[in-house]
Amino acid sequence: MGAQIGRFVARRLGALVVTLLAASLIIYGALHLSPGDPAALLAGGRNPSPETLAAIRAEYHLDDPFWARYWHWLSGVFQWDLGKSMSFGDQVSNLISARLTNTLFLVGYAALLIIFFGLATGIAGALAGKAVNTVITTTTSLLMAVPTFVAAIVLIWLFATKLNWLPVFGSGTGFGDRIEHLTLPALALTASYIAYVSRVIRSALSSELHGEHVETARSRGVRMPSIVRRHVLRNAAAPVLTVSGLTVAGLIAGTVVVEQAFGVSGIGSLLVLAAQKQDFVVVQDIALLMVAAFVVVNTVVDLVSAVLDRRLLRTGV
């Protein structure tokens, strides 16, 4: 059993490394398809002399062969040396560090909201009566179709003009202030995911609830709360976890939108800004970071799922 777990972990970690390497190659390679010359951007559009251009090209290794540049970038990334931004005139690592707290706070806050409300409504939907279920299903169907940015606009409109309870712009400093500033962004971000997670949980729970092993427990006179705890929640944990891992991808993408809409200074808004400015260095680094976050989270989810449900250890990668 121990060896089995060891092999499973090794296999997953191997897959993680391969995936990340391939992804980094795609990210780095793709940006070389761009039609523009990065040196022009670096020169700031102000009639640079050939020497200036040459200096810039040397500074950013623009004339090295592709693999050398790729390796230079990748080895830098491993040492948290992400290169120098082309448009912000600062190290990308500084740019990112300065914004990471906000984004992590936002994602964490949103994740808590999603887990709490998703679980609550999902469980209620699976276990409660038909009326409650209908209400929850209808609400979630609607909510799932509300794009993050629409939710953001509605909240901004509501709180900027009608209710002045919460700030509609900025990220705040310190814990309390952040909570205050990031509540609306987190709500906008979570609306559709709460609905999504709620549905997944509901269907996972109800499929477990109708499972044969639950029937066995019922035939033995076990009380419903115990059944739900021991046989339904426990069994649904692995699939629900998997789906939750996948919503992380959505959350990452979602931060891009809400940070932009609420003027939160985070990784997402930095990415959009950098993309608009074609600051390739920043775009590359953030894209890799986001991909890595997604892959790592999902690997962790896989490992935890396998611990929860040992059968998964036997299936392939």
């Binding site: 499972g211 044969e212 092993h213 029937e215 066995t216 427990a217 019922r218 035939s219 033995r220 006179g221 076990v222 009380r223 115990s226 021991r230 046989h231 426990r234 069994n235 692995a238 929860l308 449900d309 040992r310 059968r311 036997r314």
Partner: protein, 325 residues
């Protein structure tokens, strides 16, 4: 004669598929089981065997509608409160399912499964429950009990798992066991082992048994009486013994003769034309009439009531004492 342990009278079950589509699947089933007695319930797929067993512990799908009366040990099962129902399920009647792999929670250990009933419904301390579980595994001839208790279901073979299921049923010291095709998924050799264990334990503990199977010979081997179901009705109930000689209902006889044996090769198997009909397809009259070689106009008009013919209770217009039809 003592009162039966379980009495089922005129049980009817239908499934409501929509507001207008209500399908009968059990159409008036009556039988009883005395304490310590084993009764076999035999029939082809879809004849309603499982539904009958489930009705007894009220484990029917949500859209099922039942009528009729079921009493266990003199108390009405149909009228039980939820708490009473749980008490009956946890103390008096245990069920063994056909597919242990699906019916045992895959993410929990075998030990968990065995102890669950005791710990959660009897308030037995987990340590004591584990000790009991260990003893039970030995009773069902599973060696190396300690290791097995820690294993997950996927690590056990089908035969072993079914024995675990039997052990779990015995754990609550019930008075009646409902075994729904416990061996259908198993090899003949494993089937024999499992049946031998079940039979042995049942006799040792003097438990009543409702044994569901497709196989008349298997039922005959472990049961005192056998009931044959067709399209949601019991068409014949007879004491076991030489079933081949005693069967009176044309359907029972057809079943017996359609089954090839290892002993001799027949030139041609006797067959029943058509296919088994579902309970809701029965137009009226005897359900077996469309396939029955003896069917007359009367059979197609009115459904024969059950009546005692010799040692058997038969629902056939043509059944006669001593004269196999």
């Amino acid at each position: 004669m003592t009162a039966p342990l379980l009495r089922v009278s005129d049980l009817r079950v239908s499934i409501r598929r929509s507001t207008t589509d209500v399908r009968p699947i059990i159409r008036g089933v009556s039988f009883d089981i005395r304490a310590g007695e084993a009764v076999g319930l035999v029939g082809e797929s879809g004849s309603g065997k499982s539904m009958t067993a489930r009705s007894i512990i009220r484990l029917l799908p949500g859209n099922a509608e039942t009528s009729g009366e079921i009493t266990f040990d003199g108390d009405s099962v149909t009228g039980l409160t939820p708490a009473g129902l749980r008490r009956m399920r946890s103390h008096s009647i245990a069920m063994i399912f056909q597919d242990p792999r699906a019916h045992i929670n895959p993410v929990r250990t075998v030990g968990d499964f065995l102890c669950e009933g005791l710990v959660l419904t009897r308030g037995v301390r987990r340590r004591d429950a584990l000790r009991r579980a260990r003893q039970l595994l030995t009773d069902v001839w599973i060696p190396d009990a300690d290791r097995r208790l820690r294993q997950h279901p996927y690590e056990l073979s089908g035969g072993l798992l079914q024995r675990v299921m039997i052990a779990a049923a015995l754990a609550i010291e019930p008075r009646l066991i409902l075994a729904d095709e416990p061996t259908t998924a198993l090899d003949v050799t494993t089937q024999e082992e499992v049946m031998a264990i079940l039979d042995q334990q049942r006799r040792q503990r003097d438990l009543a048994l409702l044994f569901i199977t497709h196989d008349l010979d298997l039922a005959a081997a472990v049961c005192d009486r056998t009931a044959v179901m067709y399209a949601g009705r019991i068409v014949e109930t007879a004491a076991t013994g030489d079933l081949h000689a005693r069967a009176t209902h044309p359907y029972t006889r057809a079943l017996l003769s359609a089954r090839p044996t290892t002993g001799e090769r027949r030139a041609r198997l006797a067959t029943v034309p058509g296919r088994p009909s579902a309970a809701w397809e029965v137009p009226g009259g005897c359900a077996f009439a469309p396939r029955c070689p003896l069917a007359t106009e009367r059979c197609r008009q009115d459904d024969p009531a059950s009546r005692t013919v010799g040692d058997s209770v038969v629902a056939c217009h043509h059944a006669q004492v001593g004269a196999p039809v």
